[in-house]
Symmetry: C2
């Protein structure tokens, strides 16, 4: 790029914004300009939210969720059923399941997936801690809710094997047609899986 247009402070803000996912250099410039124009309505609230998050947000030592308390709100919640433990790759997946209200028990965030390509080994993920938690007398079933990708499924199989030898029951999310989905737009793998897992009406 050419020389900075409007002083190093504005360039620095644009560059910090451009590192957010979903914002490229062009939209980062637009965002920076809007923030500067709406100093009180946008820029100050964002700055305050960031400062508060920096000061307060932490990672739950039990499940790996992010929250302002440790253990997190979900791990502390005694109304949750500790019998089923749901394993997810990432906090974003935990949030998605919580938004859907799809799981009523506690979670375990792996922090990624096994990947030969990226050199991610079992000891790089929170798998040891998961096996320790799963062996607790309270846990009756471990739901492996990793993504339906190659790495996600490999990780689920690895964990299922490890838990089987520890005598813990495991399950995984069903594959099939998404609710509201049109068959015409689905890939062959999903259609084959949905056909295989068909159920009587």
């Amino acid at each position: 790029m050419s020389a900075p247009i409007a002083g190093p402070e504005i360039e620095r803000l644009i560059q910090a914004l451009a590192r957010l996912p979903g914002l490229g250099p062009r939209s980062a410039r637009r965002a920076a300009l809007l923030l500067i124009k709406k100093k009180d309505a946008l820029m100050r609230p964002l700055d305050e939210a960031l400062r508060e998050a920096i000061a307060k947000v932490t990672t739950c030592r039990i499940c790996g969720n992010v929250d302002t308390i440790d253990p997190c709100t979900i791990c502390r919640d005694e109304r949750r059923d500790p019998k089923t433990l749901c394993v997810v790759e990432d906090v974003a997946d935990l949030w998605a399941l919580e938004r859907a209200g799809a799981h009523k028990g506690p979670y375990h965030v792996l922090g990624g997936t096994l990947s030969a390509l990226d050199g991610v080994r079992p000891e790089d993920l929170s798998i040891g801690a998961l096996i320790k938690r799963a062996k607790s007398v309270q846990v009756e079933e471990v739901i492996l809710a990793t993504n339906a990708t190659v790495d996600g499924q490999t990780t689920a199989h690895y964990i299922a094997d490890a838990l089987e030898s520890a005598g813990v029951k495991t399950s995984r999310l069903a594959h099939g047609v998404p609710v509201g989905g049109e068959l015409d737009y689905l890939d062959d793998g999903t259609l084959t899986a949905a056909m295989k897992a068909r159920k009587p009406v």
Copy 2:
């Protein structure tokens, strides 16, 4: 949406991010999670950049550009040719022309366009200040670089009329085929304008 998933602090950060242009609720959640995960590499630098911008960035009293000094770097730059004054709708347009190195003189930022629909009148824009600047003995030509939209062109015509009665020479950007553009993808208006304004090779 359902109840907050991870405490009000994180929700507040997501909502502040979701107000940036180009980020919806979903990408704001992704951005918030990434910021939380990379506290030192991403969240602190963004917070510092914001705080510095809040403290230092201001609007130039002469041209309406944003900068950390007032008058701005461009208005102070004595190597710039004061004979041509370039009028733009917004600071983003000024940045675009500066990136291209397309204008070597000072600018004047209108702060929008006239719009009957949105109730934007001449006195809502920085038109009075422009006419005063344009009447200065130094200025020989005012380039009307408003967008090629209906509102942008209406605004350009309004300003051209006002400056004509003040005896100032005006010009506007050429319409035509964008450099690197394919005719097949261009709209009829652009093609007609390019044909009308054709030049000998």
